[in-house]
């Protein structure tokens, strides 16, 4: 029986090498492309009618748009308006990436630590740059929580700095670990089903429940990732 983590292995579909660097189009790239196509199709085809009274699909597209618009309004405020396209894209990309990963035989690119880490690091760097541009050196007051007694500063400032720099790690690992753990668990139960033969009905029932749970996790993690991005952005714009 194959290892439960075997599923995360990438297969090169179109070999590509640029300046000695392997940039092959892999299963991961394929499902990123599928995600891009699916998001674009969802957001444009459903709005094609642009009816005043929306149908089901149009309603879903409008709801996801307003969901993120509200999230930014609540967590960042009016200044967050500029970053709406980026955050909306980010949410849809992760959400659909997680969800297409639930299709049997599909690949979940969000279960790759490098993918989530690049996204988290980009956000981290971007947010820090936004904060520095807006507030200059005053930005570093972020590391001194307001109302801190001076005597505690030597203790609190390092903690704040560490927690700040851990953000990209926690943000990326949270998404990666959730997606990986879910898919591994499903694979394990799938393996049990095969091993147990007739008795395999029991793990199948569990697998059904787990699939539902995983779909929930897929949505939840996309939401968490986006909300945390908003909170980091809010920190950079408003400095606590």
């Amino acid at each position: 029986m194959a290892s439960p983590v075997e599923q995360f292995k990438l297969k090169s579909l179109v070999p590509l090498e640029l300046g000695g660097v392997d940039l092959s189009f892999t299963t991961s790239s394929l499902w990123m492309t599928v995600t891009v196509a699916a998001v674009t199709a969802f957001l444009t085809l459903s709005m094609r009618g642009g009816r005043l009274v929306p149908g089901r699909w149009q309603s879903m597209a409008e709801m996801s748009y307003e969901f993120i618009a509200n999230m930014i309004r609540e967590n960042v405020g009016a200044e967050g308006r500029k970053y709406f396209p980026f955050i909306f894209t980010l949410f849809m990309f992760i959400l659909v990436g997680n969800l297409v990963g639930m299709i049997p035989f599909a690949y979940t690119f969000t279960s790759q630590i490098i993918v989530t880490f690049v996204m988290a690091a980009t956000i981290f760097v971007g947010v820090t740059v936004i904060g520095l541009i807006r507030h200059g050196l005053h930005f570093f007051s972020l590391f001194v929580p307001s109302g801190t007694p001076l005597i505690l500063a030597p203790l609190l400032i390092p903690i704040e700095i560490i927690s700040y720099f851990v953000r990209p790690v926690s943000l990326s690992v949270r998404l990666f670990a959730n997606m990986m753990a879910g898919h591994t668990m499903m694979k394990v139960f799938g393996g049990f089903t095969v091993l147990l033969g007739v008795l395999g009905v029991a793990p199948i029932i569990l697998l059904v429940a787990l699939t539902g749970f995983e779909i929930m996790v897929a949505v939840l993690q996309a939401y968490v990732f986006t909300v945390l991005t908003c909170l980091y952005l809010n920190d950079a714009i408003h400095l606590h």
Partner: protein, 206 residues
């Protein structure tokens, strides 16, 4: 808190993951921990395709999808506000019309009651006039009758025979005149008749 529970959920899943890895290793019989995600060889390709697909998606979403959605949402918002405004205007208008109607109704009612009162007054006045006139007439007639009775009585009391006989005399004259004409076909003057009657009366009373 929401975030905390999410973190603990993550932690549980994470632990189960690390619990599974040795099993996975045993199952596959591989030597050494081989988590495919830690294969640095694949990183360049993944980063490259991630950046490419994300940028493409960003432009598709920001330039194609979002303007359309926001346009539709704004249109709807405008339409709703427009409709609300219109409803507000109509409501105001209806209110004004209602007030006008009530005013008209009130004045009509007043006019109606005025007219009724006037008519009633007229009727009463007219009735009183007619009654007064009738009363006047009746009392005149009564007075007249009383006068006549009084006159007659006075005549009877003072005039003696001459006046008392007037009625009898005239009746007797008529009868005598008629009788003579019927009997002998001669018209006799009333003076002659009177003379004759008085003579006759005188003879008889003697």
């Amino acid at each position: 808190m929401n975030c905390k529970s999410l973190l603990s959920l993550t932690a549980i899943l994470h632990c189960s993951l690390w619990f599974l890895i040795p099993q996975a290793k045993a199952a596959s019989g591989d030597a050494g921990p081989k988590l495919p995600q830690l294969d640095v060889q694949t990183y360049a390709s993944q980063i490259f395709w991630l950046v490419v697909s994300f940028i493409v998606l960003y432009f598709l979403v920001a330039k194609v999808a979002m303007p359309r959605i926001s346009e539709v949402l704004e249109e709807r918002q405008e339409r709703i506000e427009d409709d609300l405004d219109k409803a507000e205007t109509l409501k105001k208008e209806a209110y004004l019309v209602k007030i006008e109607y009530e005013k008209a109704l009130l004045s009509a009612r007043e006019r109606a009651s005025n007219a009724t009162r006037k008519a009633q007054d007229e009727i009463t006045k007219r009735g009183a006039e007619v009654e007064a006139l009738a009363n006047q007439k009746v009392s005149n007639m009564l007075k007249d009758a009383e006068n006549r009775i009084e006159k007659a009585r006075l005549e009877v009391d003072s005039g003696g025979d001459a006046s008392a006989d007037t009625l009898e005399q005239s009746v007797a004259r008529d009868i005598v005149g008629d009788t003579v004409r019927k009997l002998i076909g001669v018209d006799v003057s009333s003076n002659d008749i009177d003379k004759a009657i008085s003579n006759t009366v005188r003879e008889q009373t003697r």
